[in-house]
């Protein structure tokens, strides 16, 4: 009976907390134009990709089946974005071409976020030799060009989705490590953490209950920017031929394909996939901007 009421109280409290978070979130979302545009772009792209993957020939042209006819036709009323050398409709390839980018970007950022933040929490909280070694290692990885590291890693792992996730994920680990470690060092010195320690709260609990929540905001903003960057990295990897095997539609790979017909002036093969990459990356970037403004209102400060 007593047990039951305690659990009831906990559930009530949790619900209360959740509604408070959501209503506050909605209030903060109002007026956040940048954030809203970014979210709209990303949601639209996710929906578009899911639908196009499920129903590939949505606009009447299949993205991977080639047909007889004139090759490399510029944009017309029937083929809005022209056709490629196999007479495939560029528009239908573009609709589903973001699949690899989205999957890899989300998974890689999630992977690096978990590994990086956990390492950062541990390193910042325990300090000492472990902290020094970890920090130095992370700095070493961080200072190295991330694009080159990703390319080398993917080359070692082999082409495909999973290798790309690991490679891109590995590259971002130091970012999360640094962000969380810096936050932890700051929070660790605050009164309430000291108070928690004074009343004998365990280290694990201090990290989870008092330190981790304080780092979430920073992590959220960083991860949006990382997603924007990851989209570009994945596109570059696909462009270099480390992505999905053909004939799967993919923006980066399609651009590489278009490069072969560049001399004949087939600009549409390159232009449209590129615009898709830009828009999606921009969407994530705008979300990051929006979150930074929310988290750190000082950034928005108008000059008097």
């Amino acid at each position: 009976m007593g047990q039951h009421s305690v659990r009831g109280a906990m559930i009530t409290r949790a619900l209360h907390w959740a509604t408070r978070k959501i209503t506050r979130g909605r209030r903060e979302l109002r007026g956040q134009t940048i954030l809203k545009i970014g979210l709209a772009i990303v949601i639209a792209f996710v929906l578009m990709t899911v639908i196009a993957t499920r129903f590939p020939a949505l606009n009447g042209y299949h993205p991977t089946l080639y047909r007889e006819g004139t090759r490399l036709e510029g944009p017309t009323a029937t083929h809005w974005m022209g056709t490629d050398q196999l007479q495939r409709d560029v528009f239908s390839r573009i609709l589903g071409g973001g699949k690899a980018s989205l999957i890899v970007a989300f998974s890689a950022v999630a992977l690096s976020m978990v590994i990086g933040s956990v390492l950062g929490w541990i390193s910042g909280f325990t300090g000492g030799l472990l902290d020094r070694v970890l920090s130095l290692t992370m700095d070493a990885i961080y200072s190295f060009p991330s694009m080159i590291l990703a390319i080398v890693l993917v080359a070692m792992f082999g082409a495909g989705l999973a290798p790309m996730i690991w490679a891109v994920g590995f590259v971002y680990i130091p970012t999360y490590f640094r962000v969380t470690r810096a936050e932890v060092l700051q929070v660790r010195e605050t009164m309430y953490v000291e108070a928690a320690r004074a009343i004998g709260v365990s280290n694990t609990r201090i990290v989870l209950r008092h330190i981790a929540p304080n780092t979430i905001n920073a992590i959220m903003a960083v991860s949006s920017f990382n997603l924007a960057d990851a989209i570009l990295t994945v596109a570059a990897l696909s462009f270099l031929g480390f992505g999905l095997p053909p004939p799967a539609p993919d923006w980066g790979f399609d651009i590489q394909n278009g490069q072969k017909y560049l001399q004949s002036g087939a600009w549409w093969l390159i232009t449209f996939p590129g615009l898709m990459i830009i828009t999606l990356s921009l969407g994530f970037g705008l979300i990051g901007e929006g979150i930074s403004d929310l988290v750190n209102p000082k950034r928005k400060r108008k000059r008097v």
């Binding site: 694009m147 080159i148 390319i151 596109a235 570059a236 490069q259 921009l282």
Partner: protein
């Protein structure tokens, strides 16, 4: 010894663990992760186990991992980066041959990004919240979100193929590619030394598109930091004082604010060089630029492990040196920094 001198030595000593760590990471990634280098090198062809084994012994892959690691570190310390599987030449020699091309491209890219980034950033800051400011910010964000290889290809389509103003790719065109004599490897310098003005014009033409591609891709970061930094400085009391004295706004911005605003901008330089090298891989690939980055891509395609490792180490060392230079520059711009 002077303060700066001692600082440089301290910093040099600090780069040793840094480079050592990178070497270790590179070694582990290339050796421990799946994929046998020997069978990869020999390709998927039908080769007997004996042949593969003999290659393994010849290249030292049969020894314990720790011994391999030790000899690898020792080699690097002595400046021996191994021999390329593909060409049979020492990796370091090949890298030095291609390094000037990358540097030439990087300097031009950096120049474009500094001009575009700092100028637009400061302009945005001095016109904060006006239409100019907003347009510049959109341009900066767009430059962030743009795939560099795509920008390069678009440039090629329009300026090289459609308009025919500039060459599509390469460092030199036509007969010059065979007749031009290179001394330093930096073609611009070579052409000037030899007084070969037709070559210089051709070299400059070839530099425009890749340089702008690399530069514009970096402009976003540079511009955003310049803007933020300038805004911060313009809020300072001494700027108000300068304005109150009745100084012209131009003098206030360029004479009083710029120097302090430059401090964070220079700090990002080191970071930017990493981005610059990453961008160079794609730029060099798109423009068939014969630098170390395109060398790396070709080494990867051929599974040429010594070359891959060597290039990575080389880039790591280079980045460390750049970071050191940036730190010293920092002390020149900001005299408050004492070592």
């Amino acid at each position: 010894m002077g303060g700066v001198g001692r600082y440089i030595i301290q910093r040099l000593l600090l780069t040793i663990p840094m480079v050592f760590l990178l070497l270790t990471v590179v070694f582990l990634v290339l050796r421990v992760l799946p994929g046998d280098p020997v069978s990869a090198m020999l390709g998927g062809r039908n080769i007997s186990v004996e042949v593969i084994e003999s290659y393994r012994v010849r290249m030292g892959f049969d020894r314990p991992l720790l011994v391999q690691y030790g000899s690898y570190l020792g080699g690097v310390a002595r400046g021996d980066f191994g021999t390329s599987f593909r060409t049979g030449k020492p990796v370091l020699q090949e890298l030095f041959l291609r390094f000037p091309a990358t540097i030439e491209l990087a300097i031009w890219g950096l120049f474009v990004s500094i001009v575009l980034g700092i100028v637009t950033g400061i302009h945005a800051a001095t016109h904060a919240d006006h239409l100019v400011d907003h347009s510049i910010r959109v341009f900066h964000i767009a430059s962030f979100a743009m795939p560099l290889f795509w920008l390069g290809l678009m440039f090629q389509v329009f300026f090289a193929v459609k308009l025919g103003w500039l060459p599509v790719a390469g460092r030199l065109g036509g007969r010059l590619a065979f007749t031009f004599h290179s001394i330093t490897g930096f073609y611009v310098i070579d052409a000037i030394i030899q007084g070969d003005w037709t070559a210089l014009a051709d070299i400059a033409k070839h530099l425009v598109l890749p340089g702008c591609t690399l530069g514009i891709a970096l402009t976003g970061l540079q511009g955003r930091i310049s803007r933020a930094s300038m805004l911060e400085v313009l809020d300072a009391d001494y700027i108000t004082t300068a304005r109150a004295k009745g100084l012209k706004e131009r003098v206030v911005v360029l004479g009083h604010a710029l120097r302090n605003a430059l401090i964070p901008i220079v700090t990002v330089f080191g970071l930017q060089f990493a981005v610059l090298m990453g961008g160079a891989v794609l730029t060099e690939t798109v423009f068939s630029w014969p630098g170390i980055a395109s060398y790396l891509v070709r080494a990867i395609e051929a599974r040429d492990y010594p070359s891959i490792k060597g290039t990575v180490v080389f880039i790591a060392l280079f980045i460390s040196v750049i970071n050191l230079i940036v730190d010293v520059l920092y002390s020149i711009i900001d005299p408050r920094v004492r070592y």
